[in-house]
């Protein structure tokens, strides 16, 4: 749960607006594919890996939470 909060925090920071677990690409203004890439980059730097095969499938914050693999 603590990880989820941190991930949502990172997503919010990249999008420049506060999102929740229920937010989706279609529902957030300005969330385009470029922002999705920047989210993956930011998560990468924080130690949360989204596998490359899953990036194209990201449609919502919930997707990100389910795709993230924590680096051990």
């Amino acid at each position: 749960m603590q990880n989820d909060a941190r991930i949502i925090g990172i997503v919010s920071e990249v999008l420049g607006t506060s999102v929740s677990g229920d937010s989706s690409v279609d529902g957030v203004a300005g969330w385009d594919s470029l922002k999705t890439l920047q989210i993956v980059m930011a998560l990468d730097e924080a130690g949360y890996e989204v596998p490359i095969e899953k990036i194209a499938d990201i449609k919502s914050v919930r997707d990100i939470l389910s795709f993230v693999q924590e680096e051990v």
Partner: protein
Amino acid sequence: MTERIALLSNVTVESLALRVKKELGKDVFVSSGFDAWRTELLDPSSAIRGDEVKTICVLLHGPALFPDGVDFRFIDVLSGPLRILSQARAAHEEKIFVVSTLDLPASAARPLTGENFSARAAALWRDELQKMGVPVLDVAELAADAGRERFYSSKMWYFGSLPFSQQGETLLAREILRVENAVRGGRRKCLVLDLDNTLWGGVIGEDGIEGIELASVGMGSQYRDAQRVAGELAAQGILLAIASKNNLEDALRPFREHPHMLLRESDFVKIRADWNPKPDNIAAIARELNIGLDSLVFVDDNPLERGAVRAALPGVAVPEDFPSDSSALPAFMGRVARTYFTALRVGDEDRGKTEMYQAESRREVERGAHLSLDDYLASLEMKLDLHRLREDEIARAAQLTQKTNQFNLTTQRYTEADLAAMHGSPDLRVWMAALRDRFGDYGRICLVIVRLEPRGVLPPNVGHTAEVDTFLMSCRVMGRGVEDAVLSGIEEELTAEGVTTLRGRYAETTKNTPVRDFWRKMGYTPDGDSWVSHAPFMERRTRICRGS
């Protein structure tokens, strides 16, 4: 009309453009499509020809120029892009035109003795840009500083043709800002420095000239390295000034008396060392130099002083990331220099100096081609100060006996009290030696204790015997013949005292095998469990000058 910057690249830079926009607050035009940068540059109807575009930045990702890897044909690959850049520069004369260097990792399959075509290609690119007189965005240097692992992201590359990581993009955005500022002549003019804990460690008014931290090697040399950065700026025409809370005479003492101060009083155009508030002093410096407050940068370790200056003089740049650990000070000064004082080109008067230095370094290289060890040692210009132990050196002497393991023939450990007693004993001779060369001062690095045969036993015309109790030396100066010079010096002084036989011992430990053959090398012959030599003692050839 909002000003724009054009960012042209052979890879995806939309994400980088967003970050540049955030850092610069300027609109960014981006070329889209793999090779679009070429056509945008040469197309007379391109959007980048517009007056609102003041800066064109061409950022080329090296590996993307070489999709099949870098091999011996690299010149063929690079000549096309270089020709385009050369034409484009002429076509956009009125704009700021910046081109990146190439960061090209070496081929993973390169044999150890094989040629590094990647390095040659990157060097050729850099040389050609320099010949064109194009200011560079040094991607290769940024990547080297951050480490490629962190600067790039293979996931972003394979997913979106976007080579950089978030960190890489942030560094690039800042670098673009910095280069643009330098090209525009936004360079600041004057660096105002604090003294205590900035140019040296400690407080001169309290710790005194002996107590402040400042050295040419090891602890204290971080301050000297930080001073060097300021000195280099001064050599490029940046004005240096001091704003320090100190008595003036205290503040000036290190400049006049400390052997390791790199900066001299004459390097500073204004010295304000008193107890007035720093903002007042800094405002006065700007007034007297007749430059704006926005030409000043103020560096101080004390956050209170920084806050006071920032509040009172908002135009003055006050870097906030002064390191809490002094080992990070030179890197911090480097950042200050790069951020505020980057010049577009070397000035005419500096160029003369640069040429002089270049000639000097060529001489070094030529010398290096046929350099024997002996020549090398001679070139160090070593000066040895061998003297009888002084009262104020007892602590250092004890420390040397406690800490020296490798070059230590007998590994006798002595306390300060022991050494104080030895210092006063008529039967003992204790020598200390200090070494410096043209690169710096190594300090007191060698200690020798010799026990004389008790006097009065033999008539004066009969030779005396003496025994080396301790012979140790810091491993930092091994391999230079220092020990030869020290032993010869001591033999000479003992001879003058009537000693004709000198005896030495080697007591083996797990650490002191490097000196196992010391006595043999010094011309001593085995005698039971010790080594002995008689007057006249052997002459040893060294490249070391005696004298203080």
